[in-house]
């Protein structure tokens, strides 16, 4: 099979920084590194969009540049509006230092968010529940379910804030939601599962975000998340109502967006037309 994987070379100046940025994840579009900003004690997230060799070079540059600028614009707008997203520290859409041609893709440096990704939280919770749910009594079961309901409600509320600020995310999945760990001193909740669901919900990865206040775009945003939860967290899916609930309470435009969501759901292509 394939040789051991080597990530593409980093664009300047990160090919020369010490300590070298540490690769955290390879997303679909970008590589996420942990590095430092200004001072070795300040951690920062570095998102590199390497050039995609499968794409035609002209198309590749056009898309990469468009997306990184778009992402930075959305993030800085959201920071101004008080939505919890990582702040932008620096960027370059014409990153140099690639393998041959010098074009190494684009990069964006952001504030470091300390905490887990919601996907992992729900996966751990579901895995534990799958194995041990039968050992819980009714009250415990109810408590566990209500923790998930609470989390989904908080997510809905955060999404409401996002949409209210005039931005749609464009790629909402549970991988793009994080929980910022509470600062020390806060009392932590106890659960037999050992999975904490505390912390402020932070939205990340605005690579496909755009500025829009249309119900259609907002509803599609919610629909994408709904389907992502359905396909990756089957056990949490029944609690989707809570997310909708949290969203509804978040801002005034929510009601008409949710009405539109019903239409969007119906539109899913080739859905059975019976009943």
């Amino acid at each position: 099979m394939a040789d051991e994987y080597k990530p593409p070379a980093l664009p300047a100046p990160f090919n020369n920084t010490r300590p070298a940025p540490e690769l955290l994840t390879q997303g679909a579009e970008a590589h996420l590194y942990k590095t430092v900003s200004l001072d070795p004690s300040i951690p920062a997230a570095l998102k590199v969009r390497p050039s995609k060799p499968y794409r035609h070079p002209i198309l590749d540059r056009r898309l990469t540049r468009q997306r990184i600028i778009q992402e930075a614009r959305c993030l800085s707008k959201l920071v101004r509006e008080g939505v919890s997203v990582p702040a932008v520290l620096a960027l370059d859409w014409e990153g140099q230092g690639g393998d041959e041609a010098g074009w190494g893709g684009a990069w964006l440096m952001m504030e470091w968010i300390n905490g887990p990704v919601v996907r992992v939280v729900l996966e751990q919770w579901e895995a534990w529940m799958k194995k041990n749910a039968s050992s819980l009594d009714a009250a415990q079961l109810e408590q566990e379910n209500s923790r998930v309901r609470d989390l989904l409600r908080r997510i809905g509320k955060t999404l409401g804030g996002l949409h209210k600020a005039g931005v749609v995310h464009g790629d909402l999945t549970t991988s793009n939601l994080m929980l910022r760990l509470p600062t020390e001193g806060t009392e932590s909740e106890t659960s037999p599962t050992g999975v904490s669901m505390q912390g402020e919900v932070v939205l990340i990865d605005f690579g496909l975000a755009s500025q829009s206040a249309q119900d259609e775009d907002r509803a599609v945003d919610l629909y994408v998340l709904e389907r992502a939860i359905g396909s990756t967290h089957p056990r949490s899916e029944p609690f989707m109502e809570e997310l909708v609930h949290g969203y509804r309470e978040s801002h005034r435009g929510a009601v008409s967006t949710l009405k539109r969501l019903e239409d969007v759901r119906m539109r899913g292509r080739k859905r059975s037309m019976i009943g």
Binding site: E4, Y5, P8, E29, P53, L208, V220, V224, S272
Partner: protein, 360 residues
């Protein structure tokens, strides 16, 4: 055990015979016969004409398949047929034939979802165990991943299928439909050099092609590249048309269209791979036989430390054995389609099928 598979959801009618040996050794393809209804350049295939074509060929194909497979009717265990999704009239034409054979020979009837047929055939031929599947054809565009006994759709087209977009552009340019419009676009695109700007429409995990088609149709009209006359001129010059003003040529448009839509497909596939953490990609469906798409997907998979699995036109393009293969898997778990429930449907989602034969 031996199954006959009958496929006719679009302009191809296929009959295939598949054997699953009792000793558990790998399944074998005994016969794989197909006949395609080809419409003239500039036209698509209409349901009623396609259905007529299927009716005219079905008996011939079944007879030839049995002969080629060297099996007699007594050896056959079940008749599998495409129950959907697809074009109504052609689906019905083949379903009637399947019902008739089932009653005539007293064999069990198994209705198969066309998309699941593609996936199962792809898995069998390539040996990919649990891949992210890109299913691209003239009627469907879906990114699929398996999870707890369903093939779940991660992303799909919001309007027309990618193959439909290519086919319809081929009509605009009056490119031949023989053997397939997409194939001829691919050949023409090899001479293209200049990339024209087209919309690039990825919405989350989903894609949309209708706007791209409108845009490129508009460009073809603006540069006067559409129509049968231009097609003839181009054929005479054997593609060496180089406009002095650097205006895009027909080949450039085909090239740009391919580069744009395939980039979109690779992008959503990569996103699905990242999301489910899979390193295998399987490409199925007629558009999957496009070599540029396979190449792009290969580069993407390599950069993720994975690999791409693709099949050639015998298995990629609609065929009967894929229906036999998926049908047989269901049949072995005890699945039957009673005559009363054997009507076909144009809308039959991939995720409606309960995949009883996989346990992972």
């Amino acid at each position: 055990m031996i199954a006959i598979g009958m496929e006719g959801s679009a302009n191809k009618i296929g009959v295939g015979i598949m054997s699953h040996p009792k000793d558990g050794s790998p399944p074998q393809v005994l016969a794989n016969i197909r006949h395609t209804y080809v419409s003239p350049p500039g036209e698509g295939f209409l349901p009623k004409d396609t259905a007529r074509h299927h009716r005219a060929w079905v008996v011939n194909l079944v007879k030839r398949a049995l002969k080629e497979a060297k099996v007699s009717v007594e050896d056959v265990d079940c008749i599998c047929f495409t129950q959907g999704p697809g074009m109504g009239a052609p689906l019905q034409a083949v379903a009637i034939a399947a019902r008739m054979l089932s009653l005539l020979w007293g064999k069990a009837l198994v209705g198969v979802n066309h998309c699941v047929g593609h996936i199962e055939m792809g898995r069998l031929i390539t040996g990919a165990t649990n891949p992210v599947v890109l299913y691209v054809s003239g009627g469907n565009t879906q990114v699929i991943a398996y999870s707890s006994q369903r093939y779940r759709i991660f992303g799909e087209t919001l309007d027309i299928a990618v193959g439909n977009c290519l086919d319809r552009f081929a009509r605009t340019l009056h490119i031949s439909n023989d053997p397939a419009p997409g194939y001829n676009i691919e050949q023409l695109a090899k001479q293209g050099k200049q990339l024209v700007d087209l919309p690039y429409v990825v919405k989350g995990m989903d894609v949309s092609f209708s706007g791209i088609l409108a845009a490129i149709d508009g460009l073809a009209a603006a540069y006067g590249l559409g129509g049968s006359e231009k097609a003839r001129e181009d054929a005479q010059a054997s593609g060496k048309v180089q406009d002095p003003d650097n205006k895009p040529t027909r080949a450039d448009l085909c090239f740009s269209l391919q580069e744009t839509v395939y980039s979109m497909l690779v992008e959503i596939t990569e996103r699905a791979m990242a999301h489910v953490g899979s390193k295998q990609v399987l490409i199925v469906g007629g558009v999957g036989s496009n070599e540029r798409l396979q190449e792009m997907m290969g580069i993407m998979a390599r950069d993720r430390g994975g690999s791409v699995y693709a099949t050639d036109e015998r298995f990629c393009i609609d065929n009967g054995i894929m229906i036999a293969q998926a049908g047989m898997l269901a049949y072995q778990t005890g699945f039957r389609t009673p005559l009363k429930e054997s009507s076909c449907t144009q809308r039959f989602r991939t995720d409606e099928v309960f995949v009883k034969w996989r346990e992972d």
